[in-house]
């Protein structure tokens, strides 16, 4: 019997169609994954079930939760269903909890709201559910405030609030997207365990096909607000029928055709680099400085493609900025072509350029593309001007797959993937010796990501690119690098040839990272 049955759900927000004729159902104890790229309407489907839609939303069709039609129910009924019969887990654990209430109070509130439990009984149940989601009182007592918890712990609190009343349906909207890969594995395990124990239905929304294959019984693929394919997860992933699903499947398992590297001479030498952050002056005095980069040493040869992987807080971003000369070192040195980066010499700095993660924040919205991508010319004493400059801009844009006429446009006229191409053009315009790619494809949809990675391979083939590819995403790093560094707590714990590190990892941390990373089963031909 279905816990949730959606038939012919359509949704408009302020007159704009968002969902069209969506139908799906979820049985007790079943895990159904909604997947698709951004803008596919998968999150809006979830919010339609919870009836927590933005203002101006007009849903139509039927959503039945245990035979109650949610679209016909009045607000009082909906309030009694939310938290009681259906619970929800959100994408951003950092902001999902009230900062001025203890976590215990926030969990107990659900119990008191939906039952006649006394204060003491609610306290008891609250403690039980916190233990159940892995927050034991000796480590994370309920008297803690959200800011004292890590992202994974906060997500556990949100899950505790969602499952404490043993709902029939649990909705999880990208529950692990904001978390590190090891934390992600733990949270996914927890969700699976809760589903098994309570026999509830789980609707999990995720863009990550590897997560789907690991967790879901059935899969619903969405695109532009419509369901394009649905079926048992293993079957759909192995034999996708719809062209869009096939494209997604291929993009997720995309193989980049990287040419052979020819390492020649050391280009970047990092020697026992140390970067300490002074602790911010807080209201309670200054804490001890935090060591973000701890005696890191490595060499990057000209022509080599080096990967740098690590979870958030590992120090990889700080290291990247130190190489760019944006952060001073407390000890050690970083040399490019034998020159110390700290000397702040423009010709040395012109040898390194960077592509950042956020395609939307990387450009001044007030400048045209031509001005945006020529900004690094500031470093050159003899930067081209006039016609030569325009010609070069056009050439650069074409080399990254855009058109020379795009030079006169503003950045808001481009999509996320196009913006990353422009960012690459900006990084290449001074013909630098080294490019840092700082999570450069992490914010992109899977199909766009594949295109950008192909572009990198093309550039390697055409002009022998040397780059440092910084990412938390092991699968991508494996694709596009020759050698890899694994960073943890400011130190490099393992380095070696990429394939070797990924197949026979040496360090326990690398092993844990690889074990936690969900992967798609090999494509069935």
């Amino acid at each position: 019997m279905s816990v949730l049955q959606i038939t012919g759900l359509s949704l408009t927000i302020a007159g704009r169609p968002v969902l069209r004729d969506v139908s799906l159902d979820i049985g007790a104890g079943e895990i159904v994954a909604l997947t698709g790229e951004s803008g596919s309407g998968k999150s809006m489907t979830a919010f339609s079930v919870m009836q927590l839609l933005p203002e101006g939303a007009a849903p139509s069709g039927h959503i039945e939760l245990d035979e109650i039609d949610i679209l016909q129910a009045d607000e009082a009924t909906l309030c009694s269903l939310r938290g009681q019969r259906m619970g929800m887990v959100f994408q951003e654990p950092m902001t999902a909890l009230n900062p001025v209430q203890t976590i215990g109070a926030q969990v107990a509130e659900v119990i008191r709201l939906h039952s006649n439990a006394t204060r003491g009984e609610a306290q008891q149940q609250m403690q039980e559910v916190l233990i159940r989601v892995g927050l034991t009182p000796d480590q994370v007592p309920p008297s803690r405030y959200p800011h004292e918890l890590s992202g994974g712990q906060r997500q556990r609190v949100v899950i505790a609030m969602a499952v404490v009343m043993r709902p029939r349906l649990l909705i999880a909207d990208e529950p692990t997207t904001a978390l590190d890969v090891t934390t992600q594995a733990q949270i996914l395990d927890l969700l699976q365990q809760l589903v098994t124990e309570d026999g509830m239905g789980l609707m999990i929304i995720t863009h990550d096909l590897a997560v789907v294959s690991q967790l879901a019984d059935r899969i619903v693929v969405m695109r532009h607000g419509e369901v394009v394919e649905t079926g048992p997860a293993a079957q759909v992933l192995a034999h996708p029928q719809h062209p869009y699903t096939q494209m997604l499947r291929e993009a997720a398992a995309h193989q980049v055709d990287l040419p052979q590297a020819e390492a020649t001479e050391p280009l970047l030498v990092v020697d026992k680099a140390v970067r300490d952050y002074p602790a911010p002056a807080r209201m309670f005095g200054r804490a001890a400085p935090k060591r973000a980069v701890d005696h890191v040493s490595f060499t990057l040869e000209r022509g080599e493609r080096l990967g740098l992987v690590g979870e958030s807080g590992s120090g990889k971003s700080t290291l990247t900025r130190a190489i760019l000369g944006l952060e001073p070192l407390q000890a050690g040195r970083i040399e490019i072509d034998g020159r110390n980066v700290a000397d702040n010499d423009p010709t040395t700095r012109a040898k390194v350029q960077v592509v950042f993660q956020d395609p939307y924040g990387s450009f001044n919205p007030r400048h045209r593309v031509a001005r945006l991508i020529t900004e690094p010319f500031h470093l050159l004493p003899d930067a081209p001007t006039g016609a030569a400059r325009s010609a070069l801009v056009g050439e650069m844009l074409e080399s990254v797959g855009l058109s020379a006429t795009d030079a006169d446009k503003y950045i808001h006229e481009f999509s996320g993937g196009q913006r990353q191409r422009i960012a690459i053009a900006r990084a290449l315009i001074t013909r630098p010796d080294l490019i840092l790619l700082d999570e450069a494809v992490s914010a992109l949809d899977v199909s766009v990501r594949a295109q950008i990675l192909d572009l990198l391979a093309d550039l390697c083939r055409d002009s022998g690119l040397t780059y440092l590819f910084v990412s938390h995403d092991l699968a991508v790093v494996r694709e596009v690098t020759d050698r890899v560094l694994v960073m943890k707590s400011g130190q490099i714990v393992e380095q070696g040839v990429t394939e070797q590190v990924f197949t026979v990892p040496d360090h326990p941390y690398t092993q844990a990272l690889l074990a936690a990373s969900p992967s798609l089963p090999e494509a069935v031909a």
Binding site: C79, T95, L97, L113, Y145
Partner: protein
């Protein structure tokens, strides 16, 4: 140790602010042209008499010495002697403070009583006619000069309706009721523009909080819209409102100086304007220092309230 260390740091910066403020005030008064002693004795005074008065007033000391004398005196509650009245400034100020301070607090209370509910109402009826009406009124309230509003209040409630006196202060000896009655129109006049500002701040703060993720979480728990607002929204929304409230106290205290002129209240304002025209600089200096002290003190208290209201500040991240 968290809260104690925090208190110690804040106290230190409080003392530092006061010290710098006192130096600034002293220095400004110091560059004032003219000799108070000569001014007091008039044009025909003998040089010996002036010199004697200068010695009596302590004007013959070096500036640094005089500054030390002034600060040490203030710490002990001695603000010096008025040039014109020859009475201790502390006594004069204390008498007047019993009018100005209650007036400012009265106005602060009125401001909060009106503004906070109005802001909550407007935020929870966002975009509806009630919100538009409240916002329109606050727009008008912000634009009204308080001393003009005071004159209109006098015209309506004192001269035409005769519900209140047109001015003057009954004195606390006359009892709490009559004293408060004579402060009511001034307090209303003072409170109106500040209430309009505070209501707008309250509304936008609450609207901002209502867009936070944790408010959606609260709805997903099964709380109704109004339960979400009261249990989760309000406390978070009040945190920025506290800061504004602290700033507003400064404006109320300064505004009281002007409003006292409209109502002929014997407060600090009257004292300071009389002192300015009589070039009684030591009174001006002391009153200004006192006002600045009050503002710094209130902001210190606001910071403490902040730490109590927001656990993120209490324990450090």
């Amino acid at each position: 140790m968290g809260l104690i260390a925090y208190l110690a740091r804040r106290l230190l910066s409080l003392v530092l602010s006061l010290a710098v403020a006192s130096v600034v005030i002293f220095a400004v008064i110091e560059v004032a042209p003219g000799d108070p002693a000569a001014f007091m004795l008039g044009m025909n005074a003998q040089p010996e008499t002036v010199a004697a008065l200068r010695a009596e007033l302590g004007l013959d000391m070096a500036p640094l010495e005089r500054y030390g004398h002034w600060v040490l005196g203030m710490v002990q509650g001695d603000f010096g002697t008025s040039y014109t009245y020859r009475t201790p400034v502390s006594q004069m100020v204390a008498d007047r403070l019993w009018v100005s301070l209650p007036l400012a607090l009265y106005a602060l209370a009125l401001t909060m009583i009106v503004a906070i509910p109005a802001g909550i109402y407007a935020a929870s009826h966002r975009g509806k006619p009630g919100d538009v009406a409240v916002m329109g009124l606050t727009q008008l309230g912000v634009a009204i000069p308080n001393f003009w509003f005071a004159m209109i209040l006098v015209l309506i409630f004192a001269i035409t309706l005769r519900w209140f006196g047109a001015g003057g202060f009954a004195g606390w000896d006359a009892g709490f009721g009559p004293a408060m009655k004579s402060l009511t129109l001034p307090a209303i006049a003072l409170a109106l523009p500040q209430a309009a500002i505070l209501a707008r701040v309250m509304r936008s703060s609450l609207i901002e909080v209502m867009g936070e993720d944790y408010m959606r979480t609260a709805r997903a728990k099964g709380l109704t819209r109004s339960q979400t607002l009261w249990r989760h929204g309000l406390r978070n929304a009040l945190i920025p409102v506290l800061t504004i409230l602290g700033l507003q106290f400064a404006f109320l205290l300064a505004g009281a100086i002007i409003i006292e002129q409209v109502f002929f209240l014997p407060g600090l304002g009257r004292l300071v304007f009389q002192a300015i025209s009589a070039r009684d600089l030591i009174v001006v200096e002391s009153v200004v220092m006192l006002l600045v002290f009050a503002v710094i003190m209130v902001n210190f208290l606001v910071d403490l309230a902040y730490a109590l209201a927001d656990p993120r500040l209490r324990r450090g991240a």
